[in-house]
């Protein structure tokens, strides 16, 4: 929860839901996730965008998703994952269809199939 809050505060300080090369650890501390928006500075509303993430150490796979925790729902579509190299992925077709509080989920899967989760909160105003 600490990492979730810190990132949320950082984003709010630097502007509305923008980021570049932000870093976050999985909640169990096993992995670092460096993430950024692709080709844009701010997350748009009701427009598709992409998120790139690099994971250290190198995992087996990862997925990126987003939810609205207070609404208990996610995006209206599934992001499409593309692996750029051994430790870097891009999530295409991300779509925040409404304003409000969103949470990115970076689910990192290790060689044993265990999923480790990192989360980043963003407010879309």
């Amino acid at each position: 929860m600490t990492s979730r809050l810190l990132i949320a505060i950082a984003l709010l300080c630097t502007g509305c839901a923008s980021s570049s090369n932000s870093g976050v650890k999985t909640h169990d501390g096993a992995y670092d996730v460096q993430w950024s928006l692709v080709d844009i500075d701010n997350i748009p509303v009701d427009e598709y965008f992409a998120v790139e993430a690099t994971v250290t150490p190198t995992p087996t796979s990862m997925t990126i998703d987003a939810v609205m925790p207070s609404h208990r729902h996610g995006m209206l579509n599934d992001a499409t994952m593309e692996q750029l190299n051994a430790d870097t992925w891009v999530a295409h077709d991300m779509l925040f269809h409404m304003h409000g509080h969103w949470r990115f989920r970076f689910d990192v899967t290790d060689a044993d199939g265990v999923v480790h989760r990192a989360e980043v909160d963003v407010d879309i105003e």
């Binding site: 929860m1 979730r4 909640h27 044993d112 199939g113 999923v115 480790h116 989760r117």
Partner: protein, 519 residues
């Protein structure tokens, strides 16, 4: 015969509003005090259900023991499932893995526990059409086909591309076409006698054609009835296509409501003049005759503030976690108060990390006020782990972000699909509280045991299918009163302290009369 003709007529007519008139949907009768998770048709009496430790033929308000000619070594229990054919019965026992045929005066044990060709692991349902026996082999995640001597005639672990996760119901028609429910994937499947996949329908949801933990299933004359457990209704489908014909049930707003309202139906079976529905949660069987169901009173969902708790909870330190199947989520209650406080709800519907469909093992660990909670999902064998940092709570109240998912293990199809209930607990100084029978608790202190506390009922201090018991750090006995949608607390002398849940709490101070309606 009339029912058969009417249902057969249905098949020749185009689907439309008039179809519902030819289906069993009109409430007819209720028999209470039946603790059966299964019903099977009885030609003469309507249905066969469990009454006490014997199977009984039931119709309206009469019950007669059902005689099959041979006594069983162990009497039937509420866990067993059975079907009837040719005047006999085929019984499946989840606890032993046995399928027992009592046909034409001869008793045969056809399977034992295991995962081999003629073995079962927690069979959830059984069907027989006189030539074949089909078993919903839940623990092995497959459908097992046997002939009448017990020889293996095939196995299915999927229907087309749909792998079975927890097959929970099975029906066979005269042509040996199979109809299967899967309570984990919320689908209904059809496989023809030659193994061809005919159709699959469903998915989680409330709309007609969607399901929430479908359980028992029956087929007759081209019509399927499905007990749609968490939607509290029966759905009727065309056997040829899986298309919905109609549905009925009307969720009971409060426990014990009936007269056609259905609450957690576990099984459904056609009878000569309609159908019967088993509701073990309500300890009753309801009968329906042909006719249009009354849907006018159907509410859109629960309206009270209490939760529909599942049958399992975990308690450690100041944390109590209980699952709510309808939400596919866990509630955390803070016990470090005179009245426990609903602190957060976490988990969600789905199949990914943090999505638990059917928790079978829930554990809480931790020192101080920070806890780790794990739940294993029977659906896929994954174990999900959250942290619950309750030391960060500065004030009582709801904190939606408190739980943080740490990990989810890889799927494990070999993981057990059930876990024993926590029905007894002991304090550090040796006082033990135990759930006894199906409606009382007993407290043992210095070798002496109190008389039974509680009893079967809906008032405060009584129980309806209590499922688990823990003693918390404040030395309160906490009972998950599953059938009354609530939790209750007692002191170690057996005095009722409170009834609570995620909404309002009731205590002796604010509940002057013990006869006050329960939440």
């Amino acid at each position: 015969m009339l029912g058969t003709l009417l249902i057969a007529t249905l098949l020749s007519a185009p689907a439309g509003p008039s179809d519902a008139d030819a289906l069993p949907g009109e409430y007819a009768w209720t028999v209470n005090d039946l603790h059966a998770g299964c019903v099977a048709p009885s030609t003469e009496r309507g249905a066969i259900a469990l009454h006490g430790d014997t199977l009984a033929a039931v119709h309206a308000n009469s019950m007669e023991p059902f005689h099959w000619g041979h006594p069983l070594e162990h009497p039937p229990s509420g866990m067993d499932t059975w079907t009837t054919n040719r005047g006999g019965i085929v019984l499946a026992r989840p606890d032993t893995g046995e399928v027992i045929a009592l046909l034409e005066g001869e008793l045969k044990v056809l399977t034992t526990r295991g995962n081999r060709m003629t073995q079962c692991n927690g069979p959830a349902d059984v069907a027989c059409n006189g030539t074949r026996i089909a078993v919903a082999d839940r623990g092995n995640r497959r459908i097992l086909l046997l002939d009448m001597t017990g020889a293996n005639m095939g196995m299915y672990s999927s229907a087309g591309e749909h792998a079975f996760a927890l097959p929970s119901g099975v029906a066979l028609d005269e042509d040996s076409t199979l109809y299967i429910t899967d309570e984990a994937t919320h689908h209904v499947h059809c496989i023809e006698a030659d193994g061809r996949h005919r159709w699959s329908v469903g998915g989680w949801g409330k709309a007609p054609g969607r399901f929430a933990e479908p359980a028992g299933i029956d087929v007759r004359d081209g019509v399927i009835l499905v007990a749609d457990r968490l939607n509290h209704r029966i759905q009727a489908l065309h056997a040829d296509t899986g298309r919905v014909i109609d549905w009925w049930g009307m969720h009971a707003i409060k426990p014990r409501e009936g007269d056609g309202k259905i609450h957690y139906p576990e099984d459904v079976a056609f009878t000569e003049d309609g159908c019967v529905v088993a509701e073990p949660f309500e300890r009753r069987v309801q009968g329906f005759t042909l006719g249009r169901p009354d849907k006018a009173k159907a509410p859109t969902g629960p309206v009270d503030s209490q939760s529909h708790f599942g049958p399992r909870m975990a308690v450690h330190g100041r944390a109590l976690v209980v699952f709510e199947p309808e939400l596919r989520a866990f509630h955390l209650l803070d016990l470090d108060r005179e009245i426990p406080v609903h602190t957060t709800t976490f988990g969600e519907h789905g199949t990914g990390a943090g999505c638990v469909q059917l928790p079978v093992e829930m554990t809480l660990h931790g020192d101080g006020d920070d806890y780790t909670f794990t739940a294993r999902d029977a659906t896929d064998g994954r174990t999900h782990t959250w942290t619950l940092p309750m030391s960060t709570l500065e004030r009582p109240g709801f904190h939606p972000d408190l739980a943080v998912l740490l990990q989810a293990t890889a799927p494990d199809s070999t993981a057990p699909v059930w876990s024993p209930a926590h029905s007894s607990d002991t304090t550090d100084d040796g006082i033990t509280a135990t759930l006894q029978g199906d409606s009382t608790i007993a407290i043992t202190r210095d070798g002496a045991t109190t008389k039974p506390i509680g009893g079967h009922g809906i008032d405060h201090g009584t129980f309806w299918n209590p499922s688990e018991l823990h003693i918390d750090s404040q030395r309160r006995i906490l009972v998950l009163d599953h059938g009354n949608h609530r939790l209750q607390a007692f002191d170690l002398d057996g005095n009722w302290l409170m009834t609570f849940g995620t909404g309002r709490a009731y205590t002796p101070k604010n509940t002057p009369s013990m006869r006050r309606p329960t939440p």
